[in-house]
Symmetry: D2
């Protein structure tokens, strides 16, 4: 095949945050091109946003409905191949559904939907249409996260006993949603964010990371949600006990009121023979601990890493890779899976390594279980 | 006064671990001298152990009962001033009780007693005798832990919202208690260790540290205890949700099966205006985080620290101070408080800064609450 | 203007390292597009390499000479705007010269040329043509490096007294150039690399970083070069004393035989009032030290940073930015400066912040001084 | 033998810094006791200082001459066994000489003497008397420094190629010697400190550490000394190129004007097969790097360490050991070597591991070479 994979974007107009991240992630490897967008519900803003991106005006739509219909009417090879959804949570499901129904693959920001019911419906639709659905739980795109997963999978650590995963942030420690901060406004609004605030926004990342690396499922949890900022309608802090399906135990805590924390997604996985520790803040380093030997420091892009980690790197050792490259790995694998289909072949294991609708359903089930547990004073609650 | 404070030791014979630590802690500042000991229940081993320490044979006793009686019969100025108890948990209370009843001050290793009932009885006896009781929750002896407490107390961080405290170790990840490892053997034996294993041994340190720094009390908790090593009789891992008396929330997790972890006591305290982070592994560094300013790195012994931290240092900045110096700060303050009494004056605030029987009672109440909660499937349980 | 800036690439065919980095750096911000290339001196390999990049065959040339001529014959708006040179050192000058002579802007990998004489000739040509020349001393593209420069420039640290800059690597600790490793082969070949090996490859990065941040010039140096791997023809290790034009002193050491070091470019700048420390390995953190206050930890993308650092970030705090983003900042500013010219305006200070031919001349003068000093047994030697 | 080793102290009266450190180092292991002192040249201050230490007034002397004579007149078993010299540099040699002449072993603070000539004379006297002389280059007392030495000695790293050692401090960045700061005053006074300032005070520690770990000797050096604080009479910053006797190269830089640095003694040793990195600020961690394997993190007190490191620890892993414990290891080994002689046996290899007069002579030769080289504009100068 001799062309780039084409996509259209829903959301991500001027001033948005995550839309720009998606576009960079798509652009890095030069295998994907943006061909259209419904960047804003304001048609003029959508056109202006598209013009910033050198898109022709007639491919800048005033709504995702318009875009999907118009693109579906274009010939293959001209029309978009997939849509990227970068809107607030309550606008994840509708465009995903419509795109699938019109034959487009979907790459959506997380969480997959507004609630579990939508996610389950979406899963059915993905299955029915046979189209490719990806979810940007981007932290699983880091090379060393892939290495961690591989080492657990290979039994290098022995049976997993404990997982500690945490995601403290501090940016909502004060009531910034009243200051006109758009990112804060919708995230703290239950009509846009969903049943949970902090847990939906970042707790699901922690949950996804823990399950991705450990290969385990959280079977039940006991959650204590808090809202520390007065008048806020959703949780801004969560402390959760975990039990996994293999008998492992765990702790997940996340917060958006932890003053001075940036994006401290951290995970420790303890097995019978060895342990892993990874910090998103310094994503190119992973600590590997042993019973009777010195701790080892795994670093991105070195020759001793496995195939998944190797495939996730674009530069030699000690050229630090960051958030955007990890994000781009989701795009890359997703697009390569589309490309495989175009080429009439199965995607490789590495190409097929990106979060899917099953992860989306897990995330929504996790949110619902957390909220239910917390309402029941942290009673143990099954997930899914 | 022109003499050192004198003490006798209960336990700590040849091959013991914590006894040697206590003796170093007592020796560092050259204000305290070891004058006698009941180092072992084997009289010959007690004498041999004492000989290693250059003690005369007639001050090396075969039991604490013998020691307390014999020393009590010596004239003041010759007899010991206090006893240091460094035995396994089930032999904390009896010598403490007897020493107090014979007029000796007591410095005991933690936890204070075998169970809460004993601790409460001991508290009454301390109050009744008016003698001085200290407990070696040694981590509160670190200068930067004192700085942390002072900063919280002064309101520098604003109202505290969240505390995350953790104490993972890995040394009991396999069944070392069957290998003749003496430290492991009694710690995993419910008749010697008490109702909890990991929680009693290190969980109480975490609990004490959290309450010491935050100035808060844990009001209730939800605990999930595990025993991962087959056949072990006590918990070797614990995940606990915390609620504090001011409405703050928290997480405490501790473990002795976290492969490759040494003694990773870590604490993060989040307030409305700022946050603190301290790691025992690098005890001379404390991170202080702010809403809108760069994180600061506080370091032991610098001029910008407060009085308590300053008093806890023996060397200039960047001469790393460690575990033994922190431990010695407990001894120093305890001994200075005895000295103050000898001199007929009140101890200063700094001298009086060491863990007391109240901390011991809290610790035992914590253990009992944790065990009760876990038995009730992590139901919320009041502490004390 | 409503189009992307266009470029052609010289070098960077299949299997090359730095060419791919340049293409990613150009692609990230979606403001620059690759329109042609002379990827290899083998015309078929050049076409194949171009096909991987979705370039039409007629824009994939068999030599830079062919490319420059052919592109010059295309109408503006179709032809490339600049060339990116990503060949080994001895092929930097010829295409740069020819491109300038044909009216194309030039972005070149470092060092600028094979020797100082070429660099001086190139500088004259740049001046004469008035075209824009950029050099990818990419480490100056990191946001915190820009912050460091700004803080020094603003006098925040006081007068600079000392600079310690180091760049140890370990990848040439054995004779890998004999194993078919292409990167190693030309870098250790004096006919391709130039008068210096390690010093030309990475020492110039250290030199450039020190001068960029400090705003000072190295006036003289005393260098001790070594070749540790037997039979190698160029230096693989260098230790250099520095004296700066304001009286400051310094040390620069670099190495490619420092086993286990990845790309540890580190710099410390000491002033009368404060100091800075930055490590490329963790590029989103910069330590700022003061006389009597706690050290501060500056982090990329926070609100307290200055304008240059802010402009260099694409994501919020704690979304780690890496090597590729820093590299992309060179491309971004270079391209924006071209765009400014197209728009008939002066570039802003931020747009104009990229390494230029003056930096290239400095680098070559540095190499020559180092080699001369070392031959004279580390005698003090003027730079330039 | 059934008694502690006894010592008298020269210097270290009230308000002194290093004297108190020596006393703690001697006290920690409870094998050494202070029996007398000439703490000050003011007899009353000497008595008062001794009283603080619970010494009888008649063992508190007004001068070292008085002390040595009086103690020599006491019977063995009552008199001191050795003297500890903790005075400024110009008062190291005289008491050392007199003590040796009166049959006392000597433990001296560093540098050994005021100049090289004195050191050579002292070396002859040590040889002639056959008494034991120790020098507190305390950093060699850290367990992981001993481990480093052992690993180099065992060939684990292969042939050593490069050593980078640095010791930046910032406490003399301003003219504190004029503020009444006693430590600063004598260190910047050439009549008390010797020919060098910064180099004598901390450069010798760096030199000693490099030679101790590498097992190599610095054969020649090129030094650039600076005095940044106006009016100061001695160097406060030094940058030095090193050549070792096996052909290895190196860099040593030290500074007392590096604002914000505490006591950052750092060393990196690069061999053909592996490398080591150790930072005094976090002395319980050593990084070990390999050609093709992940970096390892060695930590104090773990079972995988060698005999020398094991013997240097007093606590289990992750009970951080610090400056005082490292210092105490010098005292312990020195005292055990005295004890071996008392017992009529050879000291073990571990007991005999402490800096000796040979190290003292090396240090003074290093200082002289550095000063001579710097005067000759960094000309290469032989050491010793």
């Amino acid at each position: 095949m001799s062309r780039k994979i084409r996509y259209g974007m829903v959301g991500g107009g001027r001033g948005a945050f995550i839309g720009a991240v998606h576009r960079i992630a798509a652009a890095i490897d030069q295998q994907i091109e943006l061909v259209c967008g419904a960047f804003s519900s304001d048609p003029q803003k959508s056109k202006d946003s598209g013009a910033d991106l050198f898109l022709p005006a007639d491919r800048c739509y005033g709504s995702y409905e318009e875009m999907i219909k118009a693109e579906a009417a274009l010939p293959e090879g001209e029309r978009m191949d997939f849509i990227a959804i970068v809107t607030p949570n309550h606008v994840h499901f509708p465009p995903a559904k419509m795109a699938l129904e019109h034959g487009f693959h979907v790459l959506s920001d997380k969480p997959a939907t507004f609630d579990l019911k939508e996610a389950q419906e979406l899963a059915k639709l993905v299955e029915k249409t046979g189209l490719i659905y990806g979810l940007t739980h981007n932290y699983t795109g880091y090379p060393l996260v892939k290495q961690a997963r591989e080492m657990v999978h290979n039994g290098t650590l022995g049976k997993i006993r404990k997982v500690v995963v945490e995601y403290p942030q501090g940016w909502l420690a004060t009531k910034v949603e009243e200051s006109g901060q758009k990112q804060a406004a919708w995230r703290t609004d239950p009509t846009k964010s969903g049943a949970a605030g902090c847990v939906g926004d970042i707790g699901t990342h922690a949950e996804n990371l823990a399950e991705y690396i450990s290969g385990l499922k959280i079977s039940e949890l006991a959650a204590d949600l808090s809202t520390f900022v007065e008048g806020r309608l959703l949780d801004d802090d969560a402390n959760i006990l975990l039990r996994f399906d293999n008998g492992a135990k765990g702790v997940l805590h996340c917060s958006q009121i932890s003053v001075g924390e940036e994006n401290n997604l951290n995970i420790r996985v303890y097995g019978e023979k060895g342990s892993l520790e990874w910090h998103q803040k310094e994503p190119n380093t992973m600590l590997v601990k042993w019973l009777d030997q010195p701790m080892q420091v795994y670093r991105t892009a070195n020759g001793y890493l496995g195939a998944a980690a190797a495939a996730g790197s674009r530069t030699p050792p000690a050229h630090p890779e960051g958030y955007l490259e990890g994000f781009a790995n989701i795009y890359k694998n997703f697009a390569n899976t589309i490309r495989a289909r175009m080429e009439g072949r199965e995607p490789t294991v590495i190409e097929n390594d990106f979060p899917k609708i099953e992860d989306g359903v897990r995330g929504m089930a996790f949110i619902e279980a957390v909220v239910a547990s917390s309402k029941a004073n942290a009673a143990w609650t099954k997930v899914g």
